[in-house]
């Protein structure tokens, strides 16, 4: 059985992520599951399953994310520090890390030597977060993946001016009922979201390269539009959702 040196657990608002690394920081396993309200039981269960295949008896555990308070861990660190660490070690470069999660966005400036220089998070509202697209996706009964495809293929867009996730949803409906084409409206919706994110990036002072993480990083429309707005092709890790947990695991190595 492979020996796991350190485990990072990222208990986010929508998903739970666990990453295990060996001494050198190489990823041995990663697990992603929808977050259960009983986070503690859920992590215990997952760790129990991992025990069948890995030696985690002496692993350090570092927890991060909203649910981290409920998890037994050797150390607790914020998502900001973890994401920065994960992204930096993954790409081996400083720059601007943008994490677009289900309920919040973070923009982190990382220095050449991997330190957090500055960061911002969105306000309490869900403006510009994954929730922005999800609300509409539920309402229209179209998956977010499909919505992204529509947005990319659309040659035109309808301006959605609302930045509030709830209002934007009703604006989408009212545009559609006015006879606007679905793909145009959907593209406008993506644009509104991307604009919120870019304004955060500008607010902190954009320093390339742009590195994406979080579930929404997989959304091709968002990535493409971010490139249009910022004039920089974003770097996207193979598995963008686990960057926080990966960073947490790495932090465990130096404990």
């Amino acid at each position: 059985m492979e020996k796991v040196k350190s485990i990072g657990i990222d208990a986010g608002s929508t998903t739970l992520k666990i990453v295990g690394v060996e001494e050198e920081g190489k990823i041995l396993f990663s697990v992603i599951e929808d977050a259960d309200p009983k986070i503690e039981e859920q992590t215990d269960k997952l760790l129990g399953e991992l025990r069948n295949n890995y030696d985690i008896e002496n692993s350090k555990i570092v927890a991060t994310g909203y649910g981290s308070n409920l998890i037994k861990a050797d150390k607790k660190v914020t998502e900001i520090t973890c994401h920065a660490k994960g992204i930096y070690e993954y790409f081996k470069t400083g720059g601007t890390a943008v994490d677009i999660g289900g309920q919040d966005n973070k923009v982190i400036l990382i220095s050449k030597n991997g330190k957090v220089v500055d960061f911002i998070m969105n306000d309490k509202c869900a403006s510009g977060t994954g929730r922005f697209l999800e609300n509409t996706s539920w309402r229209l009964k179209i998956s977010t993946e499909k919505m992204a495809e529509l947005a990319i293929s659309s040659d035109n867009e309808v301006k959605i001016s609302s930045t509030c996730a709830v209002f934007a949803e009703s604006e989408v409906i009212s545009q559609l009922s006015r006879g606007q084409k679905l793909e145009h409206v959907i593209k406008g919706l993506h644009r509104a979201m991307v604009k919120r994110i870019t304004s955060m990036v500008y607010a902190i002072g954009f320093n390339p390269p742009l590195m994406l993480s979080g579930g929404v990083a997989k959304n091709k429309a968002v990535a493409q539009m971010l490139e249009e707005e910022l004039g920089e092709k974003p770097l996207i890790p193979e598995n963008p959702q686990i960057m926080g947990a990966f960073g947490a695991a790495l932090i465990g190595l130096s404990e």
């Binding site: 909203y66 330190k115 220089v117 500055d118 998070m121």
Partner: protein, 365 residues
Amino acid sequence: MLHIDIPSRKEVIEKAKSEGKKIAAIYPIHYPRELFRSFNIQPIEVWGPPKTDTKKANAHLQSYICSVVQSGLAFYLEKQLDIADIIAVPHSCDSLQGLGSIFKDFINPKHELITIYLPREKNKENVEFLSNELKRIYKQLSEFCGFSPSSEKLMEEIKKEEEIDEIVDKLYRIRENLPLSSRGFYAILRSREYLSPDEFKSKLEYILLHASKGRLKKTGVVFSGLLPEPMEIFDIIDEMDCFVAMDDMACCMRRVYGKGNSDDPFERMAERIVNGPPDPTKGNSFNERFGFLKSLIEISGAKGIVFYNVKFCEPEYFYHPILKEKLSKAGIKSLIIETDINEPISQQTITRIKAFTEMLRENEQ
């Protein structure tokens, strides 16, 4: 850690009443405590209070008015100020201006209502104006109380306040030698909002006695904004092995005035306020504010600044972008957080504070 008992606002009010004093409920920010005290009036400040149910304020205010004004009004509407004889509303910003005006024109409290206009900018005309404004209030209080305190009495009260300001200043400078948590330290400083000068002074002297040579081995931050509410915000900072080493808050440091020069009591009170520390509601220049913040960092050895902003507070908002830039050029890290004093601290805010302290410490290494 040192423990100091602080009486509650309620206890203080009851005691003052039993001593025959009148009570003045005073809204934020600047006013001369000494003027009220010479009339045997106990000023009790109304900063919020936090965690108030502001439903009732909706009968008078739109939702885009800050939570300090919302809860201040709701508190009155809940009859919590009925015990006071006087309500005073300093003119600190557009929203408090509106509050004072609504009180006068629509709510008509049975209390004696006093408004105080705060002149902007620092200059001769302003001192002269404010001293006239204070004379006007003196007249109003004389009529209300039925007597006029002498200049000597006024001077006596002014000197008391000046002496206290001096001690507070000293405590700030030896903050890291004081065995007090952030919450503990500020609970005492903020008791000035309602304690009598003698009682407050005795608390300060008690702390001074316990100052030690040993230093708090923690990372310091400067806290800037209107007020630290909800106060649990300080616990989060302390939990991260940090402490609030200095502040630039309206309820504390921004009202630690220097000594006046004039022998005329009104002019002296005016000088103190006009020449006091920079404050966005006074419209101070960026250089003044930046210089002041930098000096706070230098004096305290703090590593960063937390701007803790009440949502919808325009005076503060306008300064943030340029201040943040100036600070960053000077190598000082800062964080802006938005708060509603009536809501519990959000998980987001906790994460931000924690990440900020992690960042400060990482960069310290």
